[in-house]
Amino acid sequence: MAPALKNENMSHQSHPTCAHHHHHHELRVENLGVRYRELDALQDVSFATSCGACVALIGPNGAGKSTLLKAVAGLLPIAAGRILWRGTKVAKWSREIAYLPQREDVDWQFPITVRGVVRMGRYPQAGWWRPFSTADETAIDRAIELMGLTDLGDRQISRLSGGQQQRVFLARALAQQAHVLLLDEPFSGLDRPSKSALAATLRKITGEGRLVIASHHDMDTVRGIYDEVLLLRRKAIAFGPVAEVFNEAALDATFGALSATEKEVA
């Protein structure tokens, strides 16, 4: 039964933490449509970005931000269009794409330590049974160190600050050697210092050549954190560099009064 976890390409084990020179790795979403029961959660969404970028996903509640993240993670069936990562269709799952859950979806009382969570990032490489190699342990140590959690390895995850908790899951994605990190509202519920620390961390992660896509609520901080922005309201309203796309007109189009048909659907 193990092959599902094992057959993932081993070629990347030679790069201890990921891809410093993978800027050409492209994520391309083409005419994506996702349906929840009878409703169109996403319709005809297209954009393309690549490793090294930090992309903000912006739109009103119910605009389909979480849906888009989950679709890219392979969690939802696609009704139309396709998602290409490095030129091939995104399968049900990939070690190279990490999905980070929303804070409310995590059971913080689960009896697991910081290190225990980060170790899970190595399960895809190790399969269901193989004991961890020194390469696995090194990757775990490095990820923990990169996220500044070295002294907290044995801490149960509820005994951390909000910012630290966020970094635990980032560390797991790093241990997994993911190229694409999908974050659902990573800044929500954080205090001001934690927010700026997380912003710096995300910059560091993209600086190393990874692609970060995060749904985001706070309009004032978009310019300081992200390179690109996708304005979303069931359809892609606009996509491009923050400087070009993130302006009043586009925001009005994204957040403006709901049209009659949209109200009906909502």
């Binding site: 976890l5 799952w93 059971d107 689960f110």
Partner: protein
């Protein structure tokens, strides 16, 4: 005094009971970690009640053989579990309500049936267990159930742990979450049945929740929860069988009572999470 302490070890039925208690406690203790982490104690409790009508029907159809009670109860638990799923999917009712309706109805039917087919005197054994009545063949049945259940649960430890912690992320990492959940439920039902002769279907839930729940209050390590629950389940059950002999009380309830007492102690005095022993609060 020494003689009194050693007496239970001399009778074969007692030796069998102690061995069975160790085995059943060990397996149930390990499995209890899954029940606690999945927060599915109520569901498992409902299914444990569903075992009784299965036994009744099996006895009615083929009589009481080594495996008839086992297969009958397994079938009943699956039927009622899947039935509740079908009702909740096919109507606006939630699954817990559907489960409650089905298992109480089935349980009632089981009691009436057991009285009708003239095994009423054994009914108390099915309800509260009779670990002294175990035969060698029962011991072997228990052994194979323990062996199989522990084998499956430990072999699938990594994907199961990921599924329990975060099913969605587990799915993005290639874990077949839905299949694992069904498998886990099936294993839990089989483990539940294995404790039937020891503690009966009314008390089986205690053995399948309390051990790991107790350890949960003592540790932050996942492995400690599994193996600690296992150790606690095995030792407490074996001790309870002995204590039952010494004090002349029923062994089945004694097992669950001892586990309950250990839980209360942990609840009060756990250094980290106890009511009185908490040195520093749950920060953040």
């Amino acid at each position: 005094m020494i003689e009194w302490l050693l007496e239970p070890f001399q009778h074969p039925f007692n030796q069998r009971a102690i061995l069975a208690a160790l085995m059943i406690g060990l397996t149930n203790g390990y499995a209890s970690a899954f029940v606690v982490l999945k927060k599915s104690a109520l569901k498992v409790g409902s299914l444990s009640h569903a075992l009784l009508p299965g036994i009744a029907v099996a006895i009615l159809l083929v009589g009481l053989h080594d495996w008839s009670a086992f297969l009958g109860s397994l079938f009943a638990a699956l039927l009622i579990g899947l039935g509740s799923l079908a009702v909740s999917r096919g109507s606006r009712l939630d699954q817990d309500s559907a489960l409650a309706i089905l298992y109480t109805a089935a349980f009632s039917g089981g009691i009436i049936l057991l009285r009708r087919i003239g095994v009423a005197q054994e009914m108390e054994e099915w309800l509260f267990g009779n670990i002294m009545g175990l035969r060698d063949s029962d011991l072997w049945t228990n052994f194979w159930i323990s062996f199989g259940a522990l084998g499956i649960l430990t072999a699938l430890h990594r994907p199961l742990l990921m599924t329990l912690f975060d099913a969605e992320v587990a799915a993005t990492l290639g874990v077949p979450v839905r299949a694992l959940n069904y498998l886990l439920l099936a294993v839990l039902i089989v483990v539940l049945i294995s404790s039937l002769q020891a503690v009966g279907c009314m008390l089986a839930l205690g053995l399948l929740v309390t051990p790991a729940a107790t350890v949960y209050l003592l540790t932050d390590s996942t492995n400690a929860m599994f193996w600690g629950g296992s150790l606690l389940g095995g030792l407490a059950s074996a001790f309870a069988v002995l204590a039952g002999w010494w004090l002349n009380i029923e062994q089945g309830p004694a097992i669950v009572l001892v586990l309950g007492a250990v839980f209360v102690i942990a609840f009060l005095f756990s250094p980290k999470y106890g009511l009185l022993g908490r040195s520093r609060g749950r920060s953040c």
